[in-house]
Symmetry: C2
Subunit: 223 residues, 2 copies
């Protein structure tokens, strides 16, 4: 049970009574009309809509995330201007906004945790920034695989990539052809093994980490 629902028993019971459970299949979008919701399991992708119709990935919230609590009642709903889709089969608890807001008033602790969650999201967005500032496509892909795997990987190192090539290319600031070559270059270097277009096995995480972040640029300053 997600941390954000670690509430006093009586409050919690009331909230749970008022909630409905919702399942979302992998790849399916968050239905319209969802107001306040807590993600119980699975992982979502938050995409910022772009003029060209596609979206740009800006976050990958996991279990425990609370959606929609910051939006004004009714109008914004959980998506609040973003496209949200499930990367894996997800379970959501749909909550009553009134009850939830009451809880926020009476439980400063809960609000603290939700603020911390927002700060974490901002922090994650900044990690994405660092990733996208890598000049080389292969390095950006390495960083992406690390970020995706950090919380989304089973023990055997097999990582499922829940995006099509063209979309992933768009997120990483490149084109699908170049991305395909980057995958195969990582494989040639022994960092990963391509099982199928949507799954890779991470063989050398350390190698990926190296590529992802820490290239000294203009290191001089020699004294």
């Amino acid at each position: 049970m997600p941390e954000c629902l670690a509430l006093p028993a009586s409050k919690r019971a009331a909230l749970i009574d008022s909630s409905r459970l919702m399942q979302i299949a992998a790849g399916a979008p968050l239905p319209d009309g969802v107001d306040v919701a807590c993600l119980l399991s699975g992982r979502l992708a938050v995409l910022k809509p772009m003029p060209d119709g596609r979206g740009h990935i800006v976050g990958l919230p996991g279990a425990g995330a609370v959606l929609g609590w910051t939006a004004g009642a009714g109008n914004g709903a959980a998506t609040n201007g973003y496209d949200i889709t499930a990367l894996e089969p997800c379970e959501l608890a749909l909550l009553d906004r009134g009850l939830f807001c009451d809880l926020l008033q009476t439980l400063p602790d809960l609000e603290q945790r939700l603020i911390a969650q927002v700060l974490d999201e901002a922090e994650a967005a900044r990690d994405w920034l660092r990733l996208l500032a890598q000049p080389k496509v292969t390095d950006r892909l390495a960083g992406f695989l690390m970020m995706l795997g950090r919380e989304l990987m089973p023990g055997d190192g097999v990582l499922h990539i829940p995006f099509r090539r063209a979309d992933l290319a768009s997120y990483l600031g490149t084109r699908k052809e170049t991305l395909s070559r980057a995958f195969h270059q990582l494989e040639a270097e022994g960092a990963i093994r391509i099982l199928d277009p949507a799954a890779v096995q991470i063989l050398q995480p350390a190698l990926l980490e190296d590529m992802a972040g820490l290239d000294a640029e203009d290191p001089p300053a020699p004294i």
Copy 2:
């Protein structure tokens, strides 16, 4: 006076009594030891420290921003793990953490505004993401100038660029030589005029906007 300090008169007087005014010169870093502070005027740059010693720009807070209120008392201080420097001469009000936290407890409205501020920062970080996902350096630079100019530009269209070329190149995921060429290419296209290395005049904002965001990629879907 920033919105965040629009408080009931009595509370406000107490807070102001306890505050110290601090000036930061353009280019100077936020001194250590700053705990909770409100930016009264000017603009800061928030840089995420990187392994190579440089930082990566993650935000450009302006007047009204409150620093350090999310960190645990004492340890984190306002910077909270980031490098913060002044882009322009800045005025800060250094606040007493105890008083400020008391205010947070008693004024839910204030806390709401601060949360909104955090959400705005996250939103801004996502705009940076969109910007950095442009494959071409010239397009990224165009987007950067737009973002910088959105809040930081006087009426005459002359935009001061508060970064050195090498740093800006690092933020935009390229190298200083390429960045220099990108500037001159924008000038050749008539979008900007380079006054000196640290100042440009925006001649055609619309042209910059076009380059920055809205390139359809793989637009087909014909029928």
